[in-house]
Symmetry: C2
Subunit: 210 residues, 2 copies
């Protein structure tokens, strides 16, 4: 480009341009940048079109070929996050040696997601319409609990209701922050991980793990 190269960067202004057919690659880069931007700032108001463009390494107008505006980006971010949460939960469930352990592992995986991405977790459930996304992980847990009842691991008489109660409680603990907040609350030290196990045992009526 420059005859005798003082400027060695591939593109003089802006970022490295995507190759010919791969313009769609920017679409995913934008969502990823929005995710890390939200995770790092912790502030949903940082999700502006210009801010996301900046985080992507792109000028603002370059967003428009891929998204109609910031709302579409946020929608994509939320969908991306829900599928991440869902696979976290189902992976934990699948990797466990037993159904009871699976429920415990799934509960921990769920709450961990909330602890590790607090701003994103809040945004996911702030928007109305979270129900459609959450339903997959939800029915997964409900089915597991039903199987637990069948094989005697759970004494639940209403897996449908108990799944709801368990999820509500986990949702509550997930919106807390993970570090020593309990001490800040002057409650004395409370082991959060043990609390999750307690909730699973009491609300899903799972007998103590062997």
């Amino acid at each position: 480009m420059e005859p005798h190269g003082v400027t060695s960067e591939p593109t003089p202004r802006g970022r490295a341009r995507n190759p010919r057919g791969a313009g769609a690659r920017l679409h995913d880069e934008i969502v990823d940048a929005a995710v890390t931007l939200l995770d790092e700032t912790g502030d949903p108001s940082s999700l502006t079109l210009r801010g996301v463009a900046r985080a992507t390494g792109v000028k603002a107008p370059s967003i428009y070929p891929h998204f109609d505006g910031i709302d579409e980006i946020v929608t994509a971010l939320i969908e991306h996050s829900f599928s991440q949460l869902e696979s976290d939960v189902s992976d934990a469930l699948a990797a466990a040696p037993s159904l009871g352990d699976g429920l415990h592992a799934a509960a921990h995986a769920y709450v961990r997601f909330g602890w590790e991405h607090p701003a994103r977790y809040r945004l996911m459930f702030a928007a109305s319409g979270y129900a459609e996304h959450a339903v997959n992980a939800y029915t997964l847990v409900e089915q597991t609990l039903t199987h637990c009842v069948a094989d005697g691991t759970s004494t639940s008489t209403d897996p449908h209701r108990d799944t709801f109660l368990l999820w509500v409680a986990l949702h509550g603990i997930a919106t807390l922050e993970k570090p020593g907040r309990a001490e800040l609350l002057r409650l004395g030290p409370i082991d959060r991980d043990a609390a999750i196990d307690d909730l699973v045992e009491r609300l899903a009526k799972i007998t103590h793990r062997p």
Copy 2:
């Protein structure tokens, strides 16, 4: 008022001015306006200095004698809301005929606040430092639960931990929205109010009410 009134408004531009010594009255009006603004829009990003001024019926610079900026207004809003929540809970507790009923009533009052002011409730717990505010209502519940144990209404062996579990679960249900969201979730109809009672009984180990 006016001798021959074409202009009937007391002050030609702006709002009715406060009387001489009562300039501090605007301070509370600003907080009230911020509260209703957030409750009505449901969007924390509507809490701008100019927006709050508009809702108060005042021009933007008139805020500065009372608050250094929007952050101070939000802080005042949060403190106001926590004391409202606290009095809601303690009123419910005090009005109940028995300790067990009191815990149920307090739980319902707590969740109702979250349902009726969703954006405000979220903002209250989004800011770090909510712990200092919540601690009052919290210890109130813990003491009540301890008394329940003493008089046999609860079989809890660890009121401290069980208060934490109960609060976490209530916090979870409070961040849901009140209308038929459960149906939206395709869970089939779940009675939210009955769910609250379930949580109180199972987590605080309260025996069924007479």
